[in-house]
Symmetry: C3
């Protein structure tokens, strides 16, 4: 049924209409829903679910010249949950426990860590670094050369840009440090650096770097406060830095951030370069 | 061809590649275009058209644990026109004469009334109430717990948020009252209440409630006028409240709003709770 | 296999699952990837690639009344590269060397010139004029009656509106003149005219016409400078008008703009009406 170079593990479910290319590895307990297209050199690790009509290992530009698929491997980590109609290119590596919504696009040369979630319609351009425990909500645009460190939250319809003088031949990606929060519909201009624990308000147009623990809002975005002064409208409690008040899905969910970080082996920390 | 629990009415068209699950009811005069996936417990009422590759009755989160589809019914009302590649989850009810563009996503636990239109790429999260005669244009994001009453217009790329201190464990949905208009690219912050006949200008970042018949614009949005002072740039006429000047597709299209409301049976009015 | 009215040229690749309607012309060296739906009266010119699951010649509104497809031809120019899951309606003409990303929607009665690129998720409404050598990036919304002249750049998440008093019965499209640049996430209000070489900053809400060579930013957008004063952050060089500093993919890429325009045959210039 499939090419002889395809390796399929135990307890794999493959629904009708799935197409599989060459040199594909499908580990144990993977589920491929209706009509997925798995192109060449894709490796799906154990326990992952691939939603109906997702296309994995999508062609890069070099395919279109001679219609020959070059070697551009894609790795999907363990226990990932990719919903319907995602398109994920080759030359990308995605870690374990990845979750995506519907109709997500992820291009080539991306490195995505563990426990990352990407919402419906989001569009991740090429050559991005996306760390661990990151939540990217619906319809976010991540431009080329973006660097997003661990524990960052990005809410719906945010745009990360990268061209310092459009159209130009330069690329100046955005950097977001750990624990920063980027609220809905904001725009980060090329080369902007958002520091740890900062909060970018909804609809902010961020034209310069944001210091740590700082809230910016407006067009253009201006500093208005320390994050430590922001209260939750419902509970009335101070909520930032959020790592002290929020734990769902985080590695400290069974204790608290302070306890978890004190007991952590520093050698396991993920520091991006 | 289909499971024995599937009931199919008269004059139903089912194009090639359509897949149908269990306990599905397809009433008379329904048309299912190429490659639709109708999962379990979906009820499509008479005269509806389901565009190519739409997925109805999509899995909720509980599916992914054991790959068993639990009972989460989806009802699509009569004479609906769902275009290609929509994904609509179970546990949702959609009324009659629904129309959607391409690639719309509608999640679980939504209640959508009659004569609602939702544009291409729009993304309706879960636990929303959407009334009757509502127009939601392209690429709108409706966050969880949103309440949208009858006769509301929402234009392209609008975002309705709901997390009062992101990331938090609280949800504070937006409420939009009847006859309000939300122009393109605006953002409504968590818990904001837009009152009757209000007009939110394009690109407004709305951080607090908007009184009835009030125009707000800017970032942050500020009141600038009564809607009664706004003229149509082309005709030069006063146009708000729009129910007095616009009738296409509305229940008063054969007379006018005043006549229609005077002659209406008050018991048929839809009031949300 | 296909209807007798279908004409297929030499060296055409048709992958599994492709469906082809009536009166379709597929010229030499065309490649149709998996599961494309080519409805009636579509003409695909030589050398074009149609990505997996794209739908060409999509139904207009008149189909849904009687489920009979009327004659609404679609022409796709030579050497076009349409990626996966595009939906392109009938009654539209697209020129040569067209390139699109994934999941693009293009509706009816559009005229699109040569060397146009449209990014992932962009949504082109009906009755638009889009000239030549235009780059429209990801997730742009182009409202009905928009006119975009040659050599325009539109960046991600831009919205072109058209209803002067929403909801109204009038349409007042946006006009963008040659060499203008519209940065990410900006909104152009109905009837706005952006003149040659203008630069609309990221997140600008443009409520009135922008003169040539002018930079506008903010909400509402205000003039802040001549484009001639803007330097590239990285190179430190003046970059606007960009036609003097950027040439990749442009007809002057082998010389420079000045040389190219001096040597050009004026009769080949494309002037829109």
């Amino acid at each position: 049924m499939f090419d002889s170079t395809v390796k399929i593990g135990n307890n794999v479910t493959i629904k009708e209409g799935v197409r599989v290319g060459k040199n594909v590895v499908i580990e144990d307990d993977v589920y491929l829903d209706y009509d997925c297209i798995i192109r060449d050199n894709v490796h799906i690790k154990k326990g992952s679910f691939i939603g109906a009509r997702s296309i994995l290992g999508e062609y890069l530009m070099d395919f279109y010249k001679d219609k020959e698929n070059k070697v551009h491997p894609l790795v999907i980590g363990e226990n990932s949950l990719i919903r319907t109609e995602n398109v994920i290119y080759g030359d990308t590596v995605i870690g374990d426990n990845f979750q995506s919504g519907h109709k997500v696009t992820i291009r080539e040369n991306n490195k995505i860590g563990n426990n990352v979630r990407i919402g419906t319609l989001s569009d991740i351009q090429h050559h991005c670094y996306i760390g661990n425990y990151i939540s990217i909500h619906s319809n976010v645009f991540i431009g080329e050369e973006s660097k997003i460190n661990d524990y960052v939250w990005i809410f719906p319809h945010v745009v990360l840009t990268n061209d310092p003088a459009p159209p130009s031949n330069e690329l100046l990606g955005v950097t977001i440090d750990s624990f920063a929060v980027i609220a809905a519909k904001s725009v980060l201009l090329p080369g902007v650096h958002i520091h740890e624990d900062a909060l970018v308000g909804a609809g902010a147009i961020v034209t310069k770097d944001v210091p740590s623990e700082t809230v910016v809002v407006g067009n253009p975005a201006k500093e208005i406060s320390s994050v430590r002064k922001i209260k939750n409208k419902i509970t009335g409690e101070y909520t930032y830095p959020w790592r002290n008040t929020f734990k769902r899905g985080m590695p400290w969910q069974d204790s608290d951030y302070e306890t978890w970080i004190r007991n952590m082996d520093i050698n396991t920390l993920n520091i991006y370069k």
